[in-house]
Amino acid sequence: MSPLKIKKGTTKHSAYDLRDPHAEAQERHTLAVVVDNEAGVLARVIGLFSGRGYNIESLTVAETDHEGHLSRITVVTTGTPSVIEQIKAQLGRIVPVHEVHDLTVEGPSVERELALFKVTGQGEQRIEALRLAEIFRANVVDSTLASFIFEMTGTSEKIDAFADLMRPLGLVELARTGAAALSRGAE
């Protein structure tokens, strides 16, 4: 006999309906998690990821609402669609978590990361590094006769690309903040 058909709804808002739950492809998602700014809250979020075996590609956290004692955690994670849904549901049930937004599926968003690059070198190499930094709109924030520190803000891909270029030109140290992200538009 034929399987029971599910009556189609008129709304399509549930996150469960958005993507094929059986897809095996790994997806990269940026989650914005608004939490109470209290002791241990970051440990709860990180402990959830390690305890349940989820990935963290990057994580940033800082207080964003001093009056309301709220912090915003931006997590970039990868997983199959069903794992991503689990991550969001698990985050949502942590008591000091107020909101969980999946910026990757909730509409267009901007994502930026800040990075500092220490590049050492002499002569032609040094000039080439400076020239590329200009093309990438990286700022020089420290300089000695033998080194530069460049500061760059951009998408994680842009930072990856710049780091790849700097490596043969004497990149010795790299510090990245991890992604911060906001949805586009007025809301």
């Binding site: 009556k7 549930s14 002791a39």
Partner: protein, 586 residues
């Protein structure tokens, strides 16, 4: 008007204002100010356990049998770490607990002080939430919030860690009614459109089954009543997980029995062959699903649960309904009735005929042995002799006896079975029975136990004796770790590595040593009289029931197999029944 008081006094006051009358605990250096306040009042009764793990399990028994939160008070360091097993147990089985731990003074935290442990760090993954209170001004508010979190949404254990200087310092007391509204308030009402999809499926299903879990019991008596009304109204069959037993009565017309690894044949085959599965407050645990890829392959699945993270975690469902089980069932009932209470009754009758054929397998049948007590027989006689008791509560330890208890005992009301389902904590049942007896002083409370599990928390015999709690310990003694032995027989070439006890105590003498009553029985002919002696004794009883040593628990879905590949008892061939891929599963 706010009253100024010390932190210790505040704790006792907050407990009273939360309606607490019972605390299970064990004193120590970091909680002495609180124990001092407990000494000075009579509203809250404190039960001194013999080990902190026992306190938490006792509180679990109290909570499960009453629907109220269980409260535990223990000291810092080892007091807190000993509570960890109980906290994890309560988290997995969604039992509301409020555990208060002492902590070294704030100015000593981080210095490796005497009896210091990072309690909130250690218990973060095994509580629903926890708090370290650094300022007496926040103490009463934190305790009220702790009760709110423990009881709201999917219930669970919470912990409040209270440094000793915070207990001594004074601050204004915040009463519960003066608390700001907590931001933690899970959604309880189901999405109307989803409920409509459910009702639509109920009207069209030809082979439906209800699959219910502990969430129904946690939701409360009203949810159980709504479930009963919907099941009886539709005439659909119903099965339940271990933790859900009693939500629908075992003597009810639509009852199939428990499902899962050691569930009934007809229940598991109904799950496998259904075209509509209505999961209510259950979480598709691996003990229920068997091989996930082959789980109920042809059914439309509806899942009602208050915890969004339970939805689609293991099994993808077609209609998820997030909300309180009782509320959603009421929504569904109201809509279904308003649309004329329709079902495909002819098809459902045919479905019942099919189920009737499966029932004829009589999967729980066993042959009595006139010389040795078979464990199934022991539990069956216990059922026969206590079934009609007006107020019977059962706790269990973990293992074969636990499954036999679930198979052969009938639970007609919720809150009557207390057992460690999710974590499978050996040593749970005895302290839990103490908690149940404290909550129901006149009830018949029986812990169905195995010898190995029971010995794990046997020190609580002191607690039972001290408070004259007439708990009955019905110990099936096979001198084995029965379930371990069974798996070694089926999976590990009958190499019985460390699964038997070489030296057993004389249980009757042990009882006597603690001031309890001991009963020994190894003859099927004496069993009924011995059970009656246990029931009629007005104090704690240790009943050693010597049973067949090599009994296996059937039916059994071997690890890594789907529902329709069950092993049955007696006539079942167990040779090569389990593939090597199943052996890696627990």
């Amino acid at each position: 008007m706010s009253r100024q008081m010390t932190g210790a006094k505040m704790i006792v006051q907050a407990l009273k204002d939360q309606g607490v009358d019972t605390v299970f605990g064990y004193p120590g250096g970091a909680v002495l100010p609180i124990y001092d306040e407990i000494f000075l009042q009579n509203d809250i009764r404190h039960y001194l356990v013999r080990h902190e793990q026992g306190a938490v399990h006792a509180a679990e028994g109290y909570a499960r049998s009453t629907g109220k939160p269980g409260v535990v008070l223990v000291t810092s360091g080892p007091g807190a770490t000993n509570a960890v097993t109980g906290l994890t147990d309560a988290l997995l089985d969604s039992i509301p607990l409020v555990v208060l731990t002492g902590q070294v003074p704030t100015f000593m935290i981080g210095n490796d002080a005497f009896q210091e442990a990072d309690t909130v760090g250690i218990t973060r993954p095994c509580t629903k939430h926890n708090w370290l209170v650094r300022d007496t001004a926040n103490l009463s508010g934190t305790i009220h919030e702790a009760f709110h979190v423990a009881m709201s949404g999917r219930p669970g254990p919470v912990l409040v860690d209270i440094p000793k200087d915070v207990q001594f310092a004074s601050a204004p007391y915040t009463a519960p009614e003066d608390m700001p509204v907590s931001h933690y308030s899970p959604k309880t009402v189901g999405d109307a459109e989803r409920v409509e999809q459910l009702v639509d499926l109920i009207e069209r299903a030809e082979r439906p089954v209800f699959y219910t879990g502990g969430g129904v019991i946690n939701s409360g008596r009203a949810a159980c009543d709504s479930l009963r009304e919907l099941v009886d109204g539709t005439g659909f069959p119903i099965t339940s997980t271990l933790l859900g037993l009693g939500a629908y009565p075992a003597n009810g017309k639509r009852w199939l029995g428990m499902l899962g690894m050691h569930g009934l044949y007809e229940a598991n085959l109904a799950m496998h062959g259904c075209d509509l599965m209505i999961a209510v407050g259950a979480r598709f645990d691996d003990r229920i699903t068997g091989r996930v890829q082959d789980f109920s392959p042809k059914s439309a699945k509806v899942h009602i649960d208050i915890d969004p993270s339970s939805i689609n975690k293991v099994i993808h469902v077609d209609v998820p309904i997030i909300g309180d089980v009782g509320t959603v069932l009421d929504q569904a009932l109201a809509l279904w009735k308003s649309r004329g209470s329709k079902t495909q009754s002819d098809a459902v009758t045919r479905w019942w005929h099919q189920i009737g054929d499966w029932r004829k397998v009589d999967c729980l049948a066993y042959t009595d042995n006139p010389k040795t007590i078979r464990p199934q027989h022991a539990i069956s006689r216990l059922e026969a002799l206590t079934r009609d008791h007006p107020d019977r509560y059962i706790t269990t330890e973990v293992g074969q006896h636990q499954m036999w208890a679930a198979q052969y005992l009938g639970f007609n009301e919720p809150h009557r079975l207390m057992t460690s389902g999710g974590l499978g904590t050996m040593g749970y049942g005895f302290p839990a029975s103490i908690g149940v007896q404290v909550a129901h002083p006149d009830a018949l409370v029986i812990n169905v136990a195995g010898d190995a599990s029971w010995l794990m928390n046997m020190q609580e015999l002191g607690t039972a004796a001290q408070y004259r709690l007439p708990v009955k310990q019905f110990i099936l003694n096979n001198e084995r770790l029965g379930m371990v032995r069974q798996w070694q027989e089926l999976l590990h070439g009958e190499r019985y590595s460390h699964s038997w006890s070489e030296s057993q105590p004389d249980f009757a003498k042990l009882a006597e040593a603690f001031g309890a009553h001991g009963i020994y029985c190894d003859d099927p002919a004496d069993l009924d009289d011995a059970i009656m002696e246990m029931i009629n004794c007005d104090g704690p009883v240790l009943f050693e029931c010597v049973v067949e040593k090599h009994e296996n628990c059937f039916p059994m879905i071997p690890s890594g197999e789907p529902h329709n590949k069950m092993l049955l008892g007696e006539n079942a061939s167990t040779a090569d029944a389990i593939g090597t891929s199943g052996a890696v599963l627990v």
